[in-house]
Amino acid sequence: MSTATLEQPPAEAAPIESFTVTFLIRRFDPDVDTEPRWQDFDVEMYPTDRVLDALHKIKWEQDGSLTFRRSCAHGICGSDAMRINGRNRLACKTLIKDLDISKPIYVEAIKGLPLEKDLIVDMEPFFASYREVQPFLQPKTAAAPGKERVQSVAERARFDDTTKCILCAACTSSCPVFWTDGQYFGPAAIVNAHRFIFDSRDDEAKVRLDILNDKEGVWRCRTTFNCTEACPRGIEVTKAIAEVKQAVMRGKP
């Protein structure tokens, strides 16, 4: 085959159409407002833009007081979980083309955690539950000098799904049980407990199972599957919780 050469100048690419999209953002300024209020913004968007781009455009071009968290903007840091059209999503992973732009797009803070300002909530109760399940490796024996702890492919696959968690709180703040009972550990903490309970290198599964065998532990889960639907990493959260429930009943992983 001959090398492909440019015989004709490429036809001018059709300009990508942009749309005016209306965003209704639930705003709350603790210095001024007693109640959150809805404010609308019209933003010129491309279908390939994300909701995060719209928030940037609003903040940079229309209202600099709009407050939200974002760090990496690529679905890894887990900073920008918010309720978009009534569902928990990462703003940086939600494309405009996947939303119905004939209607306004509702954006509000995640539910069940104390609202601080606009789209920012206090994540401390969430991280407190996370810390309580001891989310770190606790082997009883030291690894052979100069060697790593060997694990088979099957042993690693056992907890692969729950290693993907980015702690964005989309699952925990989608849980109807968590909304009404802030003491519940919540899906994210159980997912991260699952990650170590089923790790063959870890020896303290029993401790974590005891922590989760609590009134506010795994038994609060009512299998509504909101967490599984909300997870931006596609973790089967409810399945992981069910596995922990069964491990608690067996008394071992």
């Binding site: 809805w38 539910k111 909101n226």
Partner: protein
């Protein structure tokens, strides 16, 4: 600031006023849980009343007969349809919840199981309702 002043002149449309935030748009799993709760609480209150009226027979058989007699009305007949509907849903969905907790396949296919529950509910109610209403309205 002129922008915010202009904004106050236009009255916000009612659709934009949702002080509590939007309703969370959960899917089959969440709605099955909501229905399970509602039917469960409704059945609990029915049982409470039912135990009390049955206990009346120990007080006096006449009082018991009088209370049971008031149940033989078409309105109560329709109420019985609602009661059976609630119990049938709660029973089938209860089996679904148990399967979801104990069987990995069911955890993955909970949406399908929900629609099976709805299907079974429709079949049972199609069998029960006409027969029951004929009894209620032919007396």
């Amino acid at each position: 600031m002129p922008d915010s002043q202009a904004r106050t002149l236009t009255a916000p449309t009612p659709a934009k006023e949702r002080p509590g935030g939007t309703l969370y748009r959960g899917r089959e799993g969440m709605w099955s849980w909501v229905l399970h709760r509602i039917t469960g609480v409704a059945i609990f209150f029915f049982l409470l009343v039912h135990i009390l009226d049955t206990a009346l027979v120990r007080v006096s058989p006449e009082a018991y007969n009088a209370v049971i007699g008031t149940y033989q009305t078409p309105i109560m007949g329709l109420g019985e349809v609602a009661l059976v509907g609630a119990i049938v849903f709660h029973a089938f969905n209860g089996i679904r919840v148990i399967l979801v907790d104990f069987w990995a396949w069911a955890t993955r296919h909970q949406k399908l199981l929900f629609w099976i529950v709805i299907g079974l509910w429709v079949i049972v109610m199609l069998g029960f309702t006409p027969r029951h209403l004929i009894n209620v309205f032919s007396h």
